[in-house]
């Protein structure tokens, strides 16, 4: 390294100061406080009188039925969304990967729901899922009855609510994954690209033996990134079902918030947040690990 002059040193700290100050005050400090609270019985309205409880919050959470329910819901949501969204995105990418500029609009179409705000889409799909009351019904039920199927109360049926939210989420995010696959396709060699035209004979074989192996880095990335994003589920069930019916769609984040704002159990909620952070960190490490495996 070059010898560093004092004025460079001073300049560096000046450049870093605003960013470090804001990160310190609004990220690091709150996180450290939350870590501290997670080992106490802190009450939201009486922070200072918190009594230390050691790791009790953590062990309580791991056996708390609602927290476990939320974890299972979120895991089940991920199991529904990740493979379907990735597979759909993969085929969309193959389909819209056309060199002519003229076809660009097709990519844009699938990306539009990605840029529309999630609260807007959650509200919209609540309306699309409206049950039938007389001749009034949502678009999904109009489609179902039009096809001769029976109308459903999608969001108020405990068995259908989470799959309905998963379906909406796949639709919302598939364009994002598609774009990442498209970037991956751009790295293929001309012969591989030729094989990636999915029409014609032996399409399935070419897909399996040429394209999927060549696209492995993108596939690993999309699968792991979607997994992490699915675990952060909150807005859709919060607006569409409030976590119901019968907690069928309650998410980890919602449980943590209700502990804080309804139960005032700040200590418990902080422990929940730390567990959630550990989960996300573990998934991220998993992602790095797989990404490295694929590269080597």
């Amino acid at each position: 390294m070059n010898p560093v002059s004092n004025s460079t040193r001073a300049a560096a700290w000046l450049f870093l100061a605003p960013a470090l100050a804001l990160l310190g005050v609004f990220t690091l400090w709150p996180m450290l406080r939350a870590l501290g609270w997670s080992f106490t019985a802190a009450d939201l309205l009486a922070l200072d009188s918190a009594r230390g409880v050691g790791g009790a919050n953590y062990s309580d959470l791991l056996t708390d039925p609602r927290f476990r329910r939320a974890f299972l819901n979120t895991a089940w949501f991920a199991v529904m969304v990740v493979p379907v969204q990735a597979a759909l995105a993969f085929f969309l990418a193959l389909w819209v990967n056309r060199p002519e500029r003229y076809w660009r609009w097709l990519r844009t179409v699938f990306f539009v729901p990605v840029v529309v705000s999630m609260p807007v889409l959650a509200v919209l799909w609540t309306m699309l899922y409206q049950p039938a009351r007389g001749d009034q019904m949502g678009l999904l039920n109009a489609l179902a009855t039009g096809l001769g199927l029976s109308a459903q109360d999608w969001l108020q049926n405990p068995r259908l609510a989470l799959p309905a939210i998963a379906f909406m989420s796949v639709w919302q995010g598939v364009g994002f994954q598609m774009m990442i696959f498209l970037a991956g396709l751009q790295n293929l060699s001309p012969e591989q690209l030729e094989a990636a035209k999915i029409d014609g004979a032996h399409a399935g074989q070419r897909l399996r033996h040429v394209i999927v192996p060549a696209m492995r880095p993108s596939i690993v990335f999309v699968l792991t990134a979607t997994l992490i994003l699915s675990f952060r589920l909150f807005v859709q069930p919060y607006l569409m079902t409030r976590g119901g019916p019968e907690d069928a769609t309650v998410s980890i984040i919602q449980v943590i918030y209700e502990m804080t704002f309804l139960g005032r159990e700040l200590g418990m909620a902080s422990a929940g947040a730390m567990l959630f952070l550990l989960l996300v960190a573990a998934l991220t490490l998993l992602q790095r690990f797989f990404a490295r495996e694929v590269r080597s």
């Binding site: 390294m1 070059n2 560093v4 460079t8 040193r9 001073a10 300049a11 560096a12 700290w13 450049f15 870093l16 605003p18 960013a19 470090l20 804001l22 990160l23 005050v25 609004f26 990220t27 690091l28 400090w29 709150p30 406080r33 939350a34 609270w37 076809w103 097709l106 179409v109 699938f110 729901p113 840029v115 529309v116 705000s117 999630m118 609260p119 807007v120 509200v123 919209l124 799909w125 309306m127 699309l128 409206q130 001749d135 009034q136 678009l139 489609l143 970037a183 990335f221 990134a225 992490i228 994003l229 607006l239 943590i256 804080t260 700040l266 902080s270 947040a273 959630f276 952070l277 960190a281």
Partner: protein, 274 residues
């Protein structure tokens, strides 16, 4: 022949995929009783369409002030963020010495921190700092915690590192000139990366929900997303108003997307959630 068929299939798939949004737009002009009436045939009707829902939603949800709040929030985050993130990135890329290097490791760790985890302790911190209640304070609470973003520092640092070194070699030798080099040489050279950051942050923060939900406690401090959520949860529920509000919120997003599409590069998207 084959090309015509391909076009037809593509158009059909596209319309099917966008049907929810097309329905939203159409239904937002319909009278309340007709919104859930009948099946697909109704989608093509142009009878009874009016702007009544828009007028009512604008009034009921106080969308004028909501749009202003959201606009100020996003503008504030972008302005402060562009300056502070790029300054930090420049320091990490070009003004290296031992202390900041360790700090950069810390910044990298912060990238994975999901915002959802931060909300509760951040709310209490913001309260301690007195940033709740009135208009200016709430705005500060919306902007300050999210202006500096670990990922943006990392992303811009990569772009500063990719610049040819002789372009600003002088900065390393002489710290006093560092700011001028940063401002008039380095910053203009990474304009495309700055544009990407602006577009992605704009779309992200326009959609912000969890944080405004806990910070915007008064009607006059609400952002548009919270205004929408309130129409959706506070009786009397008027679906037409909700739809009109949703369309109004979505228009600026689509406009930005249309204008800035070329700045949304797939590889950057991938980096954004790493």
């Amino acid at each position: 022949m084959k090309r015509g068929l391909g076009w037809l299939v593509s158009a059909a798939v596209a319309i099917g995929f966008l049907l929810p949004l097309l329905w939203m737009l159409h239904a937002s002009f319909r009278p309340e009783h007709a919104i859930f009436e009948g099946g697909f045939g109704e989608l093509l009707t142009w009878q009874g369409l009016s702007l009544d829902n828009y007028a009512a939603a604008w009034r009921r949800a106080a969308l004028g002030i909501g749009l202003l709040n959201s606009f100020l929030q996003v503008a504030g985050i972008l302005a402060l963020g562009l300056l502070f993130n790029s300054m930090a990135a420049f320091a990490f890329a070009r003004l290296v010495f031992r202390g900041p290097r360790l700090l950069f490791g810390l910044v990298l760790v912060l990238i994975i921190l999901p915002v959802e985890v931060l909300v509760v302790p951040l709310l209490l911190t913001v309260r301690d700092l007195g940033l709740t209640g009135g208009h200016g304070r709430t705005l500060a609470a919306l902007i300050l915690p999210f202006a500096v973003k670990a990922f943006n520092i990392f992303f811009l640092r990569q772009h500063f590192l990719a610049l040819p070194r002789d372009l600003e070699e002088a900065a390393v030798v002489d710290g006093a000139r560092a700011f001028r080099i940063y401002w008039s040489v380095a910053l203009p050279a990474v304009k495309p990366a700055l544009a990407t950051v602006v577009v992605l942050d704009m779309l992200t923060h326009w959609s912000d929900f969890i944080w405004p939900l806990v910070v915007c406690t008064r009607e006059e401090t609400r952002t548009v997303q919270i205004a929408l959520a309130n129409l959706f949860t506070e009786p009397p529920i008027q679906w037409g108003h909700i739809l009109a509000c949703a369309v109004i919120i979505t228009l600026p997003v689509l406009l930005v997307f249309r204008l800035a599409q070329r700045h949304i590069v797939a590889s950057d998207l991938a980096a954004g959630i790493k």
